[in-house]
Amino acid sequence: MPRIGVFVCHCGVNIAATVDVERVRDELAKHPGVAYSVDYRYMCSDPGQNIIKEAIKEHRLTGVVVAACSPSMHEVTFRSACASAGLNPYLCEMANIREHCSWVHQDREEATKKAIELIRMVVERVKRNEELFPIHIDVTKRALVIGGGIAGIQAALDIADAGYEVVLVEREPSIGGHMAQLSETFPTLDCSQCILTPKMVQVRQHPRIKLLTYSVVEEVSGYVGNFVVTIRKKARSVREDLCTGCGICTQRCPARRDGIPSEFERGLATRPAIYIPFPQAVPNVPVIDREHCRYFLTGRCRVCEQVCPAKAIDYEQQDELITENVGAIVVATGYELISPSIYGEYGGGRFKDVIDGLQFERLLSASGPTGGRLVRPSDGKEVKVVAFIACVGSRDRAKGIPYCSKICCMYIAKHALLFKHRVHDGEAYVFYMDIRAGGKGYDEFVRRAIEEEGACYIRGRVSRIYESNGKLIVCGMDTLSGKLVEVEADLVVLATAMRPSDGFDELARKLRLTYDEHGFFSEAHPKLRPVETNTAGVFLAGACQAPKDIPESVAQASAAAAKVLSLFGMPRIEREPTIAEVNEMTCTGCFDCERVCPYNAIERKEIKDRRGNIIKVVASVNPGLCEGCGACAGTCRNKSITLKGFNDEQVFAQLVSASV
């Protein structure tokens, strides 16, 4: 005999102002199977929960219906309360008489009738609920971090320092990301490499971090706590175990005269075919770029092999496929800057002296292609007048990039400031639309650039830039004064928009992640769950989620690490039992369910007879992946799949009650 308890919440005036809660309570008390019906001002409060707990014991309730707000608010609250009173939490359901009733209706009579109806429906359903128990999953307490920029490095260190093994995969030959290319960072003007390289070395030396550089993630299978990842370690053509990092090969490589553009120097310098991207690279082992190496192209050369004192060159080296078992994955794949080719009005990339922010960092950098001298890429002449253009791509609906890239206002101020430090008689002009400087010490930093360093800030977008007599003519507008302005600049630096790194779509497919229209990976909730994704066990850190600066990336990386650690901190993971279940007797093995499952949670299971012959292959739900969406249950032609907690009996009881 069912003994259902009905608990009607006033929710202050949210429900009670529209719904006659006392009448509802009284009507439900009369409903067959209801053993106890009560109302209270705030059911979710401690006293409210106590009412439920005591009622369960006193009235020997077999089920609980809390008529209140949306389950997404307090289902967990009330289920925990029931559990602590000894009632299986899945015998507790909520009837939403707030979002579905009092908040959307005004007529008191109608709303009250509807509330009564809604609660009756849930009572009928709960009568048919079964006890369910959480699913426990073992966790492999190892993490994978994809991306070795500052975010990936921070996440890897945090997880490894807590005592767990981390595999850090980076597709470039060295970790460090874009931060390694910066000269100084705002607002402290720390030398970027000086603060970054200690962390890079820590990664290298950490006993629990397995560093795989020049490597990419090939495939990912499995589920939270039990991922199987295949990593392709691309062939460097150099034996990492033998190489001493002396660098002689890079100095003697004849292809250094072949004009191969250096990726690290953003095209402002060339590099040899066998190269170390920058002096502080981790690992300090060169890589042979087989697409430009003379030996690989023509079969002749092998100079590096001859000069290498450690005999570390290995032209026969092949890509290696490495399999790793991990329990959690942190995605920290970072950003890239858009190409200025979409801005025909700024030269479309044709003008050598119109560069982007990262290229300017290389010019500023003491270890850069000009040794920190500010000279023009075109003719090497000194730069005396520089124009910085903000919002090149960002906040430009016409170019398809409506968002703000967040960091540019700050790094432009930094660039203007550093330029004035280097070139005392230089002139810096900044063309901006708005100044976004919301961080700690940020606004003061921008004011410093203007008030102390004398950078001239012009509020207005630049219409076009053209070359004339060896100078760049920047045609702008100062909207604040209403004056048309023009600058004859030696150098123009465009603050181009940030976009996600190449390959985000492929990685998303492999990890079953979603991304927005611009390619930034989607967080589970923009406000309250910024580092989780909708794929259990996969977390985000850094600019791959949205444009952000270094402090935010580091903070987010530590947050992602914390999430990983909370996953590893429990002996096993508990997952919601409201998942699908296949009736293997009736399943015909058509696998329509497999086709519609968005989580790849349907597996194939062989049913064998006693002699080991396969009788049939049926569908089987992987409890670690299933998120209980019910698509399979709806698709299955002969109703062989049920969704626990939402089986046909429950749902139909609810519907039939409504129609009576």
């Binding site: 025909g344 009005e345 479309g348 044709r350 053209y466 070359e467 004339s468 007599n469």
Partner: protein
Amino acid sequence: MEAKAQSTADAHPEDAERKLEFAYYPGCSLSGTAVEYGISTKALCNHLGIKLEEIPDWICCGATPAHAIRTLFPLALGARNLALAAKLDKPLLTVCAACFNRLKWTAYELKHNREAREKISQLPGLLDGQTVERLYELQILHLLTVLRELYGIERLSERVRYPLKGLRVACYYGCLLVRPPKVMQFDDPENPRVMDELISAVGAEVVDWAFKTECCGASLALSRSDLVAERVHRILSDAKSRGANIICVACPLCHVNLDVYQIDANAKFGYEHDMPIAYFTQLIGIALGIPAQELGLEKHMVDPMKVLKNALAQKQT
């Protein structure tokens, strides 16, 4: 000068087989201030076996003034012309940049704007029996595109008899050929190259310069020629500073402003620009061997013959 050149349609019968036939929309200025543009267009097309059938009873496209002060009138003008062209059942070809712009705009409006279609349908007799769909399905082409895409640059360069050596040409596109890009869909609006490629193909040196699409002042010539003088001065100065000795245009109004109003620019700034302005049809025509008189080159205010004589002295071997 050479005897009248034969139509290459005779010398190259395969040209005629290509059947490049168009409904020709000359526009008002081609019988007036841009008469040499009309003459040279006809001569060039005739030479290349491109058949132009002038649309009977075409009317003014409205150019800038119509859309500048009226709202429905410019659409009606455009619709009328498209309807008349549609009757000929051939793609429409024009050489005037403003006409090209207005006709394409009309087609775009009719295609994308339901209200525009409704309004036009309310004017009985305007479309002369054509449906509105027929209007915006009509292909509207500029001769520059026809020469590069349909006739072919390779073929064109093969027909060259006098490669224009010694000519340093600044190709000036002006505004209406390329803007707004959503409507015109004609080359890169910031750095177009179609004219440069054609002029290059006939042997001239094409100069890279910064005022390719900078406005000349357009229809302000009628009322505020002082403002036009200002713009013309800037354009000519930049061309000259890049070493250009001739400017090539594809728009009658640009030609008038740069050629006829050059003396205004000279006077205002105290500077003798002495920069000849030629239509691309004239330059290509010269290169192909069409005599200068058949291209109207004597009609310009700033004499182009000085610069062209050098080129003409060198024949392709």
